[in-house]
Symmetry: C2
Subunit: 219 residues, 2 copies
DNA sequence: GAATGTGAAGGTTTTCACAGCA
DNA sequence: TGCTGTGAAAACCTTCACATTC
């Protein structure tokens, strides 16, 4: 049972770490661990035990003093917190380089993100089959998103057209957008927009390698 | 001229924001802006002007009071700070879903990351041509990395084999690794490892959509 | 004894506010 | 006047340390 998170504002870092815990717990579950301590969890993610306990404590008391956390149960709880267990209907827009990779990306399904629709504007791609999904014409975007009860849209189109696409996505009532295009998109306040910037981590590496002294860094 | 960053520890967030500034400056440059204020820069990245000024101030004084920052010059300075202008020799390991997408990802070249080598262990892929690069046999990894003066390695192999691959990469003397596999890798302290976890942002969206009240979030 | 849960302390990052300069 | 650069203040996040529970 998750304690109501009331008006407590949960930090972005905490949520990101929950994702990490979730992944480790999946592994521990496969390795048949029954319980895990904050110490072990911390070690696996290069964090401190206190950090792990504090993160979890925002959402409830999942552990047993003297024993640790029950692996499967905690995994379930985190899935609940992150909303992973409800299953999300996702649409992908753009099957170029990145879009194609995402269609085949197993992690997404595993976490409850099901790509239901794929759109493109290229006549040669429309109608083609990607992992069992027929590519739809972007012209039907708004109606298709609504009819298929899509909740999250992944944008993998060229930067030049991303804003137009997103405007239509917003019109369709979508409240969650993951953007892979290298551009800052504008959306209304009630829409959650996250950007996946694949250059950023490389740039961080570039910085780290160029300034070895000042940096100590793991991701 | 960049003021020596001495023993000042620059935060990861600052570096990540420098990446953002860099991208905006590239756009502003194309739009023929001569100068830009911290206010404008902040607006484009949904930050505060003070944040922008503080970030830049860690590295020097690039602006002119009353006027703002010279766009091209600042862009050059940030490239310098991030080490983007030196040009990096990158090797990609694994041309599956994600690997293939990365080969064609234009942003990398644009920022000075040049994919010079591609490796795979699949006989059907070895010898094939990806955007002008012949896929090499992973068995020659260590020697090829050394001979070609590779500085950064991008790992896009299945999670199950990623650690073995990375061990070899480390043996080859590589100090910068970007990992796309869904697994926590171990590397020595003097190697910079960054993880690109594409599920994480989706999970954040999932959390945000499931807890609309507690969250306000842009990426 | 072992490990959680949590206020309080400590540290880091962001924002404020203003002096200083073009 | 307009906007930077920056100490100081405020906000935020992490770690400590210990009472508590199994």
């Amino acid at each position: 049972m998750i304690s109501e998170s009331k008006k407590k504002k949960i930090s972005e870092s905490t949520i990101r770490r929950l994702s990490l815990y979730y992944r480790v717990l999946s592994i521990l579950e496969k390795e048949n661990y029954e319980t895990v301590s904050s110490k072990e969890l911390a070690k696996r993610e290069k964090l401190t035990p206190a950090q792990v306990r504090k993160d979890l404590s925002f959402f409830g008391s999942f552990g047993t003093r003297g024993l640790g956390y029950p692996v499967s149960e905690l995994k379930k709880q985190i899935a609940e917190i992150l909303g992973l267990n409800r299953g999300w209907n996702v649409a992908l827009i753009g099957v170029g380089n990145i879009g194609s990779a995402l269609v085949g990306y197993k992690e997404f399904q595993r976490q409850g993100f099901n790509i239901k629709l794929i759109f493109d504007n290229d006549q040669r791609k429309i109608g083609s089959n990607h992992k069992g999904i027929i590519v739809s014409d972007i012209r039907n975007l708004e109606s298709d998103l609504k009819e298929n009860n899509i909740q999250i849209v992944v944008v993998a189109v060229p930067a030049t057209v991303a804003q137009y696409i997103v405007d239509d996505v917003v019109k369709a009532g979508i409240k969650g957008i993951l953007n892979f295009a290298s551009v800052n998109l504008k959306v209304p306040d009630d829409v959650f927009l996250r950007n996946e910037n694949m250059s950023m981590e490389l740039e961080y590496l570039s910085f780290a390698l160029s300034n070895l002294k000042d940096v100590k860094g793991e991701s």
